[in-house]
């Protein structure tokens, strides 16, 4: 008897996801068919609202009605494969990059990538943050140490000043009096030093420095990579700010350990 039940639910599910708003499951009475729209709408709206909550800056940049249309197209293509919507929208940034009506905002997909990184950072595993004093205590051994990235740390590369654009378009952050766009911006560091997520702009030298460390390179290699991008790169404040942002969870004895 369970085969017909499975078939009936499969039919219901197919009608829910059918692009035609008139699709209804087989065998429904006229009255039931009219009411079916409630479920169709709930399913669609749940996904759109999850995206709206995760991508507030993208929504603000394009305006809510546009965002809802764009998210609706994505939701029609991408059902949730998880039993929660906490991390729904894994491919949303790629979708935005290819969404022709949003082509006027070339940086929009990078803002979406940054917001995805913020979402992942928020829900990432807990881990202690490497204490700057503990790092300093390593002395000269620090240059060849391997730093374990904190599970929440993300680096988002972009040729646009994504951190500044994000800060100017999220309710959590105060809008800067003047939106100073860093010339030659290179990316944004996303980290979770306490329990709230922080987003910082990175100039090219600092971006190369952070990227090398997060990829498992030691501080000496990171310094070299940064200096090749910025002649007067100053490693001390760059390192200090990275530690203060809670980018690392600890120091490893072997490369790749714990990371």
């Amino acid at each position: 008897m369970s085969a017909p039940l499975a078939a009936r639910q499969a039919d219901f599910a197919a009608a829910l996801r059918d692009p035609s708003p008139d699709a209804v499951p087989d065998g429904f009475s006229e009255a039931a068919a009219r009411r079916f729209r409630v479920y169709r709408n709930n399913v669609r709206v749940a996904l759109i609202e999850a995206l709206a909550a995760a991508y507030p800056a993208v929504s603000r940049l394009v305006g809510e009605p546009f965002f809802h249309r764009m998210a609706g197209v994505y939701a029609a293509e991408e059902p949730s494969r998880e039993r929660t919507l906490n991390l729904y929208g894994e491919n949303f940034a790629d979708f935005v990059a290819g969404f022709a009506p949003a082509g006027e905002l070339p940086y929009l997909a990078d803002i979406a990538r940054l917001e995805r990184a913020v979402l992942e950072a928020r829900h990432a595993a807990d881990a202690p943050v490497l204490d700057p004093a503990a790092a300093a205590a390593l002395g000269s051994r620090l240059a060849s140490a391997w730093l374990i990235p904190h599970p929440a740390t993300r680096l988002v590369r972009s040729e646009y000043p994504v951190a500044e654009i994000w800060h100017a378009n999220t309710a959590e952050a105060p809008t800067p009096d003047d939106l100073v766009l860093t010339a030659g911006a290179a990316g944004a560091l996303v980290s979770r030093p306490a329990l709230s997520v922080s987003v910082q702009a990175l100039a090219p030298g600092r971006c190369a420095f952070a990227e090398t460390l997060l990829d498992g390179g030691d501080p000496a290699a990171a310094h070299a990579a940064a200096a090749s991008r910025e002649e007067d790169f100053d490693v001390i404040p760059a390192f200090r700010d990275l530690l203060a942002a809670g980018a690392f969870a600890g120091v490893a004895n072997e490369p790749g350990e714990g990371g």
Binding site: A6, A31, R34, V43, A50, R83, T84, H123, L195
Partner: protein, 278 residues
């Protein structure tokens, strides 16, 4: 769980609730919202649990689904239950998943013989995995499925008798269903056996007018309606006090507004029923 009024916990109220510790009997959350590796959400729930009894109210097990349960999801549910030691665990008789997709909505369960067998197997598996009995909740109905063999009360009562689970009576859903599909709400309220009822839900609905048809939507986006309070009084007058949750999930009001709903429920619990031993 105390037979007091509880409140559906919302992140928007975290600061007030954790900071001021208002006098609330207990809180309820959807475990799915806490199925994350770490971070602020779980930290807030830890703090909440430190100060109040907690109820886990699942929306993702898809007990009414034709498919077997998702073992990863069941394991994640178990981990949260182990960590937060809830006083109550509940789920819906609805289904929400099919073919590897999750719809994030409570879809109408099949009130057929086959549907009854399937949900009993799913509840058995859930209770075995969790090591305890759960409560199952009646849904808000917008339509009647063509394959129905019995009415909803008969379905949930037989399910509870067969599996040993209890019932979470959602009074708003009974009212909404009565208005939408023409069942008798008073008769439904009167038919649920008192010994099975472990929890009661109250919430607000919204009215949807579409193509000349009036439909009540279980939106959890408004205050509890007077008609739902009346049904609630009728229920607790018969069965005695039960843990009673006020849910408000959309257009979330200030804490004081939501808290006032819980205070109202608690005053009815105190007024209408003699205290009975737990």
């Amino acid at each position: 769980m105390p037979a007091r009024a509880g409140v559906g916990f919302k992140g928007e109220h975290a600061e007030t609730v954790c900071g001021d510790r208002p006098d609330v009997g207990w809180f309820e959350v959807h475990p799915e919202n806490y199925m994350v590796a770490g971070g602020p959400r779980l930290a807030v729930l830890e703090e909440l649990r430190g100060n109040y009894p907690l109820s886990l109210h699942g929306v993702g097990l898809s007990l009414g689904g034709a498919e077997r349960l998702d073992s990863d999801h069941l394991r994640a549910f178990r981990e949260l239950a182990d960590r937060f030691e809830p006083g109550l665990i509940s789920e819906h008789i609805a289904w929400s998943a099919h073919g590897g997709m999750w719809f994030a909505d409570l879809l109408p369960p099949s009130l057929s013989r086959a549907g009854l067998d399937r949900i009993c197997d799913n509840i058995d598996e859930t209770q075995e995995a969790l090591g305890r009995a759960i409560l199952i909740e009646n849904p808000a109905n917008y339509l009647v499925l063509p394959d129905r063999d019995m009415d909803e009360v008969a379905f949930i009562v037989e399910t509870a008798r067969r599996t040993g689970c209890g019932l979470l009576v959602d009074v708003n859903n009974i009212y909404v269903s009565a208005e939408n599909v023409g069942i008798d709400a008073d008769a439904y309220i009167d038919a649920v056996p008192a010994d099975l009822i472990g929890e009661i839900h109250l919430a607000g609905f919204t009215v949807d007018e579409h193509a000349g048809e009036r439909l009540l939507i279980d939106s959890h986006g408004a205050a509890v309606d007077a008609a739902v309070w009346r049904l609630y009084d009728r229920l607790i007058a018969r069965v005695g006090p039960r843990p009673t949750l006020v849910e408000w999930d959309k257009d979330i009001p200030d804490w004081d507004v939501l808290h006032a709903e819980a205070v109202e429920a608690e005053s009815r619990l105190a007024r209408l029923a003699e205290p009975v031993p737990a």
